[in-house]
Symmetry: C2
């Protein structure tokens, strides 16, 4: 018999909430987990079988850490790719593959990949410096995105007029046409090394404009079947073009004229899949483990309507976190609390999420609104 999942060691680069929820699932398979994270109080610290406090962007640290594992995965894209490539050369299984992370790390290369593979996406242009931006004839208004290291709304700004360029990033950037969208949607697709592919049902997102973060996520979507199928097909096409092993979150826009445009990719468990823990037969975390260990993929169907709500640090609060209203929201049926084990809160920090499951979609949304008003992370 080949080595089984219960005998293998999974190395995870990054020890945040995504790693934490991955470990919660890994426990069910007796999987040994190793985590590398620069924060000595990372959410995974007490859960991993082995926790190393160290840089995930340093070649030597990542390489030496990876040598200890049988399979290496990520919960954040900003990792040292060269070390992963070296580990792959030496026969380690790195999923998603280093070349996939390299491509996705850079929003410019990501966009070019879309173009080369006929993946629908908003028109764009690349710029290396602020000077390039000033010389560009790309029409205002547009979105300006740093090619690397942006996340959770950071590294993104809207440029309305040439005057806004005063504060623009002076680093390799991507200029993107503003999309007049009706809805932001996401599809998570998974693929194992045998080439088995499954998508989770398409979900709809509501954004908090101020925080530039997903506020509500609603699953499943109520868009017509053919729209959902189109979104799921796009996700599958991207997974196939990337030849990825693991999970891939595909964020898309539905424009007001009915087009679907791909916004961004994440080759790992993603905020847009948290609701799957309770809302779907298989969770995105279980599915990621199945994919990277080349096990049969699980049933992605929705069990129930699910609304996911990010729990963000309250404005004006910075310090040891307290969860005001927690007891009140736990009195509501079908409410699942997921706190991420972060000791300190700060404005808009992702401190946890709440999933609401209800047979009635409107009731689930109503509960989500009530919870949003009730639960506050203060210090």
């Amino acid at each position: 018999m080949a080595k089984q999942i219960s005998e293998l060691k999974l190395g995870i680069l990054g020890g945040g909430q995504l790693g934490r929820m991955l470990i919660q699932e890994a426990i069910n398979y007796n999987l040994t987990t190793l985590v590398l994270d620069p924060d000595h109080e990372a959410p995974c610290k007490n859960l991993a079988n082995y926790f190393e406090c160290g840089s995930i962007t340093d070649f030597d640290t990542v390489y030496k850490f990876g040598k200890k594992a049988d399979v290496i995965t990520i919960e954040i894209e900003k990792v040292n790719i060269e070390a992963l490539e070296q580990l792959e050369k030496e026969g380690k299984m790195v999923f998603p593959q280093a070349r996939v992370i390299r491509l996705i790390q850079d929003k410019g290369i990501q966009k070019q990949f879309f173009k080369e593979n006929d993946i629908p996406t908003a028109p764009f242009q690349l710029a290396n410096t602020k000077e390039d931006l000033l010389n560009s004839s790309f029409p205002f208004p547009y979105m300006l995105k740093q090619r690397k290291d942006g996340y959770d709304g950071k590294g993104v700004m809207r440029i309305n007029t040439i005057a806004d360029l005063d504060n623009a990033f002076d680093s390799p950037c991507l200029i993107e046409e503003l999309v007049d969208f009706e809805k932001e949607i996401a599809v998570i697709v998974s693929r194992n090394s045998n080439g088995e592919v499954k998508t989770f049902p398409m979900v709809e997102m509501e954004f908090n404009a101020e925080a530039n973060l997903v506020e509500f996520l609603i699953s499943p979507s109520t868009y017509p079947e053919h729209v959902q199928e189109r979104a799921e097909t796009i996700a599958k096409n991207i997974a196939a073009a990337l030849n990825i092993t693991g999970l891939l979150a595909v964020e898309m826009f539905i424009t007001k004229d009915g087009q679907i445009l791909v916004n961004e990719l994440a080759p790992r468990p993603h905020n847009s899949g948290h609701h799957t823990i309770e809302g779907n037969y298989v969770s995105q975390f279980d599915q990621h483990l199945r994919a990277v260990f080349n096990l049969p993929l699980g049933d992605t169907r929705a069990i129930n309507n699910a609304v996911m709500l990010n729990v963000l640090g309250e404005k004006g609060h910075d310090g040891v976190a307290k969860y005001q209203g927690l007891e009140k929201i736990m009195a509501i049926d079908g409410v699942y609390v997921h706190l991420y084990g972060k000791k300190y809160t700060k404005p808009f920090r992702k401190m946890g999420h709440i999933t609401i499951v209800d047979q009635n979609r409107e009731a689930a949304i109503e509960k989500a609104n009530l919870i949003k008003e009730t639960l506050k992370v203060i210090s």
Copy 2:
């Protein structure tokens, strides 16, 4: 604001699979967990924030361990009660309460409690020695149970004739009339300190006669509503009579003439509630945490038909565990694997459980039968 669950420390006596699944749930609340277990390779070892290898029956060890926690609970009844009583005197919250554990630890006192509180149960007699058994006029055949420390089919034997008494226990025992039962059932009831009480829907069990262990558990039951209500009312009455805080599993028989008789109690998460992780809105583990921290109890309704199957060590295998057929069963939709992190298997050792969830009850049972034939724990 009073101290919140995320700021509290839960001490768990026992570090087996029940503690392990309790910790998986506790992670969602940022709860700090401390575990005491005599086995340095206990399933909880790598998951608890603090793990202590030590005796759970020794006064000093339990007392000192308990001093470190805010709330103390158990995952096994065989613990040092005197230490828990002392901790209660000093103001620690011990849930279930020490007096409840004391009562349930002793099957003789448990039966007397049933009698005093008009809880229906099979006729019985107590015996202190083998001599008492030989002198008893209790009619054969009967079940002979050791009053203390029996579990998983150990400490129980069937006495058909006086000749069987040669091998009988020579310790305080309980003689119990054989129940001609149609079905073994269970109801888990939970109660918080505010007195809020909720029962999980009644489940049906199928036993493996050879291992004397639950083999299949089916949720929810298909017995008529009035039978289920009666079972749930009995469970609530017991919880009220005990004035328990926490979870209480009530194992019962439905006799061929339609009576419900209580068999045994367990004041903690229980094998008969494992299916609730995926099969019900709230899991027994979440509910136990809610109860002991005096939080609102969750929605116990079944989401789907669920069948739970214990994964037992194969006969003739003793050594490092391998899970034959695991990949095959993971290819079946709605199948959830829970391995308990035990390195070594031995015949009939509980190594894990599998839950099968399906909208069709018969399909779920069929899948369970297939899994039983496919998955083998060997060495």
